[in-house]
């Protein structure tokens, strides 16, 4: 039973080890093989996850679970990792980074994310978190010889261990409050009115929010995000924005879906405040950014704010809309980073927003996709971003937070400004500097798929939304 149900994670971990071993042991290492092996692992794992759909199972009282929620997120992580590998392939070659470790670390981090999404046990969650964080820290400084990446890596590393200490402290208090760190069990205790120490529980909740807030870059725990996104190698930045953040949300949703009934009053207020300041700060500071990676960093902060909006109340509808939004966000964000990766020649990257000037008339298709991604992030129909926002807002109204929705809507107008600026540069400004474009097949295909998805889900969101609306938790 065990091996059968947790194969997805195991496959990923073993693929990581296989890649490492292959790189070290094989006589004549072909770099493509590393990619193929990793992709194969990810895809097999994805398929395996898909098979498990609708077969909820829990192992060791929820230390590991496999329910629809975990499967959706696992597939998310697996696919986004696959796209990360696809879009980073020649980047790695050009920077002499194309080694087994890179693939292995990405796969390990993926496994960590999957752990985060598929456990009720907080300590396993902590392990997953660290399994995500440590490979990431290494990946961030993977590109040797750059001040940026070292600084970014150090900041990321110190701050994440700092905040994970708080997270761990939160687990301890949960243990103190309920005598268990199994969230489902704690929730069961609520319903049976067993004695739970409320002060400890609240402290615990606060510290857990801090730890996860760090991962999802909610203000004020977002503070590392811009620097790290800026300093990390671009594929890693994409990975951070797509995978790590979503994993944080997966954990947050699972924890607070269960904890919520007990302490919903205070939590709602906390999430409202976090949501508003997160999206406002993210959007406003993004306006001043001149570096595309920094801009996308702040934009990703703002998007966390939007998702938090719906998490003020943990209803099934809230969760399905949050998942849909995250999916839409990841699609557009991966696409955007993919295009940032395309503006490159060998190891020189062009990440100032001015480098986008006149792109549309040089590479119309590329610019067209960038425009789609930007508009999707801005939430303009008919892109998926609009549907995501629309669904999110409609659920928030349903939850009774119309004021929050208005804040979110006004924020989306602010956001439109800086997303449109990229579009404006691409289409309405003359090219200043000759910016080279390196487009390779795997990147092109990825962009194409992501671009189509960003439109498709904007027009036909129905199937995927109803998928997310099924019973998610076991």
């Amino acid at each position: 039973m065990f091996s059968y149900l947790f194969m997805p994670i195991i496959i990923v971990v073993f693929t990581g080890l296989l890649v490492l071993l292959y790189d070290v042991l094989a006589v004549n290492v072909r770099k493509e093989h590393l990619l193929f092996i990793s992709l194969a692992g990810l895809i097999i794992s994805t398929l395996y996850s898909a098979i498990l759909w609708g077969l909820p199972f829990s192992f060791m009282k929820g230390m590991l679970v496999s329910d629809n929620f975990s499967i959706i997120f696992s597939v998310f992580f697996l696919l986004s990792s696959a796209f990360i590998l696809l879009i980073s392939y020649t980047y790695l070659n050009d920077n002499n980074l194309n080694v087994g470790e890179y693939y292995a670390l990405v796969l390990f981090a993926t496994a960590g994310m999957m752990f985060m999404a598929s456990t009720f046990n907080l300590i396993v969650l902590y392990l997953g978190l660290e399994l995500l964080t440590l490979p990431l820290a290494i990946l961030i400084c993977f590109k040797k010889g750059r001040d940026f990446s070292h600084e970014a890596s150090l900041k990321f590393f110190i701050l994440s261990v700092f905040s994970s200490a708080f997270f761990l402290f939160g687990i301890a208090f949960m243990f103190g409050a309920a005598g268990t760190i199994n969230i489902a069990q704690v929730a069961g205790d609520f319903s049976t009115h067993a004695v739970i120490s409320l002060p400890y529980l609240l402290i615990s909740a606060g510290l857990l929010i801090l730890g996860l807030g760090f991962k999802i870059s909610s203000v004020p725990f977002h503070i590392w995000t811009p620097d790290v996104y800026h300093g990390a190698p671009t594929p890693v930045t994409a990975f951070l924005s797509a995978g790590a953040k979503v994993a944080g949300f997966a954990a947050l949703i699972r924890i607070f879906f269960y904890l919520f009934p007990g302490i919903h009053l205070s939590l709602t207020e906390v999430f409202i405040v976090l949501s508003v300041i997160t999206m406002t700060l993210g959007n406003i500071v993004a306006i001043a950014q001149r570096n595309i990676k920094r801009m996308l960093a702040y934009s990703s902060i703002a998007h966390s704010g939007y998702v938090l909006m719906v998490l003020t109340v943990f209803t099934p509808a809230s969760i399905s809309s949050a998942i849909f939004y995250l999916m839409v966000y990841v699609i557009a964000n991966l696409g955007a980073f993919g295009i940032v990766l395309a503006l490159r020649q060998k190891d020189r990257e062009y990440i100032d927003i001015m480098h986008f000037s006149g792109l549309a008339w040089k590479r119309p298709l590329l610019a067209g996709f960038m425009a789609i991604f930007m508009l999707s992030l801005a939430g303009v129909p008919p892109t998926a971003g609009f549907m995501g926002k629309f669904y999110l807002f409609s659920v928030t109204v349903k939850n009774g937070f119309t004021g929050l929705v208005i804040a979110g809507l006004i924020n989306s107008v602010l956001a439109a400004y800086y997303y449109l600026r990229i579009v404006y540069l691409m289409y309405m400004k003359e090219e200043k500097e000759n910016v080279p474009v390196t487009l390779f097949p795997s990147l092109g295909v990825s962009l194409f798929i992501l671009g189509i998805a960003a439109i498709y889900f904007g027009i036909f969101p129905s199937p995927i939304i109803s998928l997310f609306k099924t019973t998610l938790f076991h």
């Binding site: 300590i123 600084e151 700092f162 243990f175």
Partner: protein, 100 residues
């Protein structure tokens, strides 16, 4: 029996010391050590809760924590060494190229 609160206060004090270390010290290594103090403070809390509630699984969690701490130190040191190679400096305030 010594009340649980005192253990928690001790744990809290340790945690604050660790936190302060991260905040005030400029040396990266010392910062890393301060984080270790924080983790140990948590371990103390775990153990005291476990003892107080007579739930041995709390002590098991500490093993997980220690393992993770060890992994953290390894990765952290690796990063610090590679930075030292480059910069010949341990001062964390030297690193503020990325800002804004």
């Amino acid at each position: 029996m010594i009340p649980i609160k005192l253990y928690l206060v001790l744990s809290g004090v340790l945690f604050v010391i660790g936190t302060s270390g991260v905040l005030v010290r400029k040396n990266v290594l010392v910062m890393l050590m301060s984080v270790e103090i924080m983790l140990n403070a948590v371990n103390l809390a775990f153990v005291s809760f476990a003892r107080y509630m007579m739930l041995p699984k709390g002590q098991v969690y500490v093993f997980f924590s220690i393992t993770v701490a060890a992994a953290e130190v390894i990765v952290g040191l690796a990063i610090i060494i590679s930075i030292f190679h480059k910069k010949e400096s341990m001062d964390v305030d030297d690193m503020n190229v990325l800002k804004g």
